[in-house]
Symmetry: C2
Subunit: 223 residues, 2 copies
């Protein structure tokens, strides 16, 4: 098989990963929208998307495996394919978190609607922005952008802690809304988990782009 | 390099993964023990272990990468190395969950000690047993054992739901213990996450052992 085909395959792998990333982000956005708008139809949509994400993950994994097995990529290409496999796993888990949000939303629909003292929209935007930038850093091979995603993680941790505190205070002050506040706490954690996966993706991009240096650093620590 | 060296390298990779798995399991057990015995010293120990787990993960990843780059493993060996890379990532996240439990434990030490209506020990045992069996299924190349781990996941989901319900009821009935119950809810979720990672490991073992068949199934779904 000519080597040019190999580069076409890498390009296709990248395209598939991009499609997977777009679907995952969209699903996370929809899940949060379902929660904020109390929209049962959107929950169903998120569930369907999650199945599509799982399928896409399997296809992408198999494609990466085929490339490895048949083309035996070297050096930077090998690191890229490995990064894709890991990033693929993180994206699939972003999909799981979206599905969790949708599940909790369905539970929340049985409860009285009450305003919670948390800016979920800002949290959600921040989290899916991190996913978007992490994937962009992969596409552009931009380790600096990937680094910036990692620093964004502190903000979402802070937002999550704040949400947690506010909602606990609400439970103390208005115990009749314990269930609603509890769902809010768990959804804030789901958003934080999405951001964690973005951070993980960014680390894999750095592994890919700065591969040689990082490995060197590592090797120099052995005797 | 002679091919016999390659098999020694694979054996060493497996050994390192086993050591990583043992450390991770032990750390998860210690974290839960710290929580149940309210032992601050153990929390520090968990934190140190988490750093060691992160180091072990990087070393294992780099070793897998070196094997890929230099030996270009084929077929079942390639699937094995890929499975190791994924499992390594899941084990590292088990370590993260253990660290989360230790962090929450430190917060709980500031609060009055109160008995919670949850059998955390049973949950913890079940979760770390799943990790142990998942790793054993890898060592023995036993897809049936891996399948059984996946079915065990339902039990822990049920235990987590029950814990959640009981602790919410406690918050309603004894609101003065909201903080303690809340920490309990989050620790139950951490244990459930550990079980999720075990399930993920089991899926990777199945990918490795049954590789050929699964891929065939997949390929036959394309036109």
């Amino acid at each position: 098989m000519p080597r040019i085909n190999f580069h076409l395959q890498l390009a296709e792998l990248k395209d598939k990963l991009l499609a997977m990333a777009a679907l995952t982000q969209q699903t996370a956005d929809l899940a949060l929208e379902a929660y904020l708008k109390r929209d049962k139809g959107l929950c169903k949509y998120v569930r369907d998307n999650e199945l599509a994400i799982d399928r896409a993950q399997r296809e992408l994994d198999e494609m990466a495996y085929e490339i490895m097995a048949k083309e035996q990529p070297m050096a930077i290409d090998l690191r890229f394919v490995l990064a894709v496999i890991k990033i693929n796993g993180d994206l699939e888990r972003v999909g799981d978190q979206a599905a969790n949000i949708a599940k909790r939303t369905k539970n929340s629909l049985k409860l009285e609607d009450v305003m919670l003292p948390v800016d979920f929209e800002a949290m959600g935007e921040h989290a899916t922005r991190m996913v978007r930038l992490a994937v962009q850093s992969l596409i552009e091979g931009d380790a600096f952008l990937a680094e910036s995603v990692r620093t964004m993680d502190d903000d979402i941790d802070r937002m999550n802690r704040l949400a947690h505190e506010e909602l606990l205070r609400m439970i103390q002050e208005r115990p009749q809304y314990t269930d609603q506040a509890m769902i809010g706490i768990l959804i804030a954690r789901n958003l934080e988990s999405i951001a964690d996966h973005a951070t993980s993706i960014a680390a894999d991009v750095i592994f890919w782009v700065r591969g040689a240096d990082v490995r060197h650093e590592y090797l120099s620590t052995l005797d």
